[in-house]
Amino acid sequence: MNKFPDFKNDRKGQLSIEYILVVGFVFVISVTVVVYAADAGELDTAMAAARSGAIEGANIDCFAVYPEKTFENNTDKHPRLISPSNVKIVKVDYINQGYNSTYKKTKIQLRIWASAPSVEEAGDRNCLGDRINYYARENICKSFGTQNMTGLGCNPAYSKKYVFTTGDVKWV
């Protein structure tokens, strides 16, 4: 009847030392991996949000449909931006600037490359870039629900462990 005599030991709650070692080892590895994966996942989510935000900002620049204050400002100072233009996001990257004691979080600077061949003036491009950066930061704040923590223009944007700033958009 009993083809597996080891089952007798199992019924007494006994486990082999090898099994306990393997389980312990796997547990330690799992904890390490989970902690690392959580950090990496947070940064990954933030970068995905930043990409979506940057594309949203570029779309707004493309359609030239702006929030009212920006529209008034552009009408006065950047009349070229009232007409639609071709703006594309080429690349979104980041630099880890290490732990920042002021924010008590790891500081990440977002770097966005974009292309706008139909807009040539530097002032106009700065204006387009500011919109792209703003929406990238705003989308990070929305993703982590930290709109209340941040200052004017969602600068800087916060997640649980990171603080995000943006450099000037690089035009290619």
């Binding site: 779309n59 359609f63 449909v65 702006y66 929030p67 009212e68 529209f71």
Partner: protein
Amino acid sequence: MNNNITKYINITECSGAMSVDFIFAIFVVLIILQGVLALTSDRLDMVKDTEELGSARMVAESVAETIDATYSGGEGHSTVITLPASVKSEYKVTISSSGVYVKVDGMVGKACITPHSILKSGYEFTMHPKRSYNISTTKDGKVYSMNITEVS
């Protein structure tokens, strides 16, 4: 019959046991799904916002183009234009002598037109979705101007 079925069922499944491989695979799939779903919903929201902005821009350009075409036709030329339904939030098109302005969800866009004076409707005229408007050119002395009325 029962014996035939139980032949294909692993006895450990009957005890509610799952292999470590299976649990680990489910765990990994769940982590990936979580990321993908967050990204997908974020992108879908963005697409809807973009669609709204795009359609607002198209409406403004379409109205501006109609006004310019009607003006080019000269005295007595008229065109009826029907505005499309809103995508998400209700939009509003305002026509003034300086351009066609579209407002949607706190955002403003402008389509340029050749400057014309707007008759019988004050300095500007407001259009709403799903309504039809008659745009015509009239001549007052030597001055050509646009007359816009809602078609009931």
